[in-house]
């Protein structure tokens, strides 16, 4: 955990989290021994290909999916030790914004009920009209009109629906928000608007965020730190600046070289990843990335790489870290 200063105020920390899904074909290790921390007030990006376990990790943090092993600490609370009533209280403090703006809104509920449901659940607001005013101000805060509250979700565009989803997450005034690929289903122009909105809200409400994405260009804009996930394992963790300027893990390098750059004269040294992410049913021995790594040799198949601190701001889980 060298990437995180010890004296920082940590809001959320994960230690040794694993999630195994039993299937007919055997156990799928969606997450294996994942550890990182999210300092209060920061935005941590979680990146990786499809199937790397990003979404499962986000769900496990909020206990929407129960992790198989590991500790999740939110402030001073061990989230996995909470009973139902305590968990319900804790849910006010941490929220999630989903990827798909269509399936994440109940088509049969009006916007005011979608946003107001949590207010009723947690007894926020004294009466109906007060809750209505809260919904109205939430809608304004995310850039919609207060009278949109009487409409149904199908009357909105994808970007507007995502704003409704954001307002819903904000309704309980959380401290921590998991944004699960919250812009990747949107048009590029709308993506920028939603990212700006999230940046604004983060500053105004002093939010702490885990920003899940599969491409690094979106993450660079918003994040202070970045955790790179491959096949359910952390492969590199560092500050955004450090990771972008000198990525240490071959996988991070490949991801960075795949990100588009808006400069026609820019000559990139592209590292194209060959093949697919291996099946989590039977992950490769040793370093799980070795099957697609251009630097891999016999030692990579034999040894599981331990985290190597390259600087106080960067940790790489690569056996050859520093030498490649």
């Amino acid at each position: 955990m060298a990437a995180v200063d010890q004296d920082q105020d940590i809001l959320l920390s994960v230690e040794g989290m694993s999630k195994t899904f039993p299937t007919a074909a055997g156990d799928v290790h969606a997450l294996k021994d994942v550890s990182f921390a999210v300092p209060r007030g920061s935005v941590v990006g979680l990146v990786g290909e499809s199937g790397s376990g990003k979404t499962t990790l986000g769900r496990c943090l909020l206990r929407l999916v129960e992790p198989t092993a590991g500790v999740v600490r939110f402030g001073d609370t061990d989230l996995r030790a909470l009973g139902n009533a305590e968990l319900k209280r804790m849910r006010k403090r941490m929220q999630i914004i989903f990827q798909d703006p269509f399936s994440s809104l109940n088509p049969r509920m009006r916007v005011r009920d979608i946003i107001g449901e949590a207010l009723v659940t947690h007894g926020i607001g004294r009466n109906r009209s007060e809750r209505r005013e809260m919904v109205a101000s939430l809608l304004e805060e995310v850039g919609l009109e207060p009278d949109h509250m009487n409409r149904y979700p199908h009357e909105f565009s994808g970007g507007q629906r995502q704003r409704i989803g954001i307002a819903r997450a904000l309704s309980v005034e959380p401290e921590f928000i998991v944004a699960d690929e919250s812009v990747s289903a949107l048009d590029v122009s709308v993506q920028a608007q939603i990212l700006n909105l999230m940046q604004d809200l983060k500053d105004r409400r002093n939010l702490t965020m885990l920003f899940i994405a599969h491409d690094l260009s979106v993450v660079e804009y918003l994040c202070d730190e970045i955790v790179v996930l491959y096949l359910g394992r952390v492969v590199e963790h560092g500050t955004a600046r450090q990771l972008y300027s000198s990525p240490a893990h071959p996988y991070t390098r490949a991801l960075l070289s795949a990100a588009p750059v808006a400069d026609p004269d820019w000559k990139r040294n592209r590292q194209v990843l060959r093949g697919e992410i291996p099946s989590p049913l039977s992950p490769p021995s040793g370093c799980v990335f070795r099957t697609r790594c251009m630097f891999a040799d016999e030692t990579c198949a034999a040894q599981i790489p331990a985290p190597v601190s390259l600087s106080p701001h960067q940790t790489s889980h690569c056996l050859k870290a520093g030498s490649i």
């Binding site: 909020l62 319900k88 209280r89 999630i96 994440s104 149904y152 199908h154 819903r168 309980v172």
Partner: protein
């Protein structure tokens, strides 16, 4: 995305139904029977059980529009009053079996631990022939309108339960249910607000069909003599009585038989219409 498209169903449903001529005919037939059942005492001045032995087995004429039966009772009057019982049983069964089916289906679909038991009970009940199960239930409960409704609701509840369970399995995996869980919304509220609200259309469609089946089954039970009290006029008991006079007084069996046919047919047409109107994939093509 199928559910998103038919979201405006409440507004568009009426006009979508009215565009289909057969559905309109079905609705008119049902409206006529419902009107007759509700206003029975104003429609006919006869008493459904007033005997007039002198006039027994009179063919239809200006006084007795549909003739008289073997005790000289007015067939038209009995037909109208019988419609009350038939429609009450149909509506009662459609309602009660929907309630039972919704509870069973939600429990089975939402709680995996209960699913095994609920599904096996549903399978076991559907393995019995409908009418046989109804006969044994009415025999156990005793013959009255209320007991017939209860018995038939038990018989038809699995049809609703199956649909509710299947819809629950699909909807509970959708993101908005996960969002509700993340917000700490109670399971009870999730079931009501998120699950049930999104499966109203298939339940309404199936309940319409159950309405029709229940009317047929009630007539069958009454015809077999295991339904309501034989003195209560129902279309089934009327057919049973008319059976013995079929050669001499065909009108006795004709009118209740046609009433059942018309009602069930109308319900089926309306049910089909509802299904088409509520299914965006079919309604778009028309």
């Amino acid at each position: 995305m199928a559910q998103i498209e038919h979201v405006s169903m409440e507004a568009g449903l009426a006009s979508a139904l009215m565009q289909r001529r057969t559905v309109v005919v079905g609705l008119i037939i049902l409206a006529v029977f419902a009107f007759a059942a509700v206003f029975a005492p104003w429609i006919t001045s006869f008493d459904p059980s007033a005997l007039s032995v002198r006039d027994r087995l009179t063919p239809p004429n200006a006084t007795w529009w549909l003739g008289t039966d073997e005790f000289g009772r007015d067939v038209f009057t009995r037909l109208v009053y019988a419609g009350r019982v038939s429609l009450l049983v149909g509506a009662g069964v459609a309602f009660l079996s929907s309630i039972i089916g919704i509870v069973l289906g939600l429990l089975g679909g939402f709680f995996r631990r209960l699913d095994g038991i609920v599904s096996r009970v549903i399978d076991a009940m559907m393995a019995f022939p409908d009418i046989l199960l109804a006969i044994s239930l009415v025999a156990a409960l005793g013959g009255s309108v209320a007991n017939v409704i209860i018995a038939l609701s038990i018989v038809y509840a699995p049809r609703i339960a199956r649909i509710v369970r299947a819809s629950t399995l699909v909807i509970r995996e959708l993101t908005y249910v996960e969002a509700a869980r993340a917000l700490g919304v109670s399971t009870w509220r999730i079931m009501l607000n998120h699950l049930l609200r999104n499966m109203v259309s298939p339940i309404i469609v199936q309940a319409t069909f159950v309405f029709a089946y229940a009317m047929l089954a009630e007539a069958g039970l009454s015809f077999l003599g295991v339904g309501v009290d034989p003195e209560t006029p129902t279309w089934g008991t009327m057919i049973n009585a008319g059976r013995q006079y079929i050669g001499d007084a065909g009108w006795m069996i004709m009118s209740p038989g046609l009433s059942i046919t018309a009602c069930v047919l109308a319900l089926q047409i309306v049910g089909d219409g509802l299904r088409d109107a509520l299914d965006p994939r079919i309604s778009k093509e028309l």
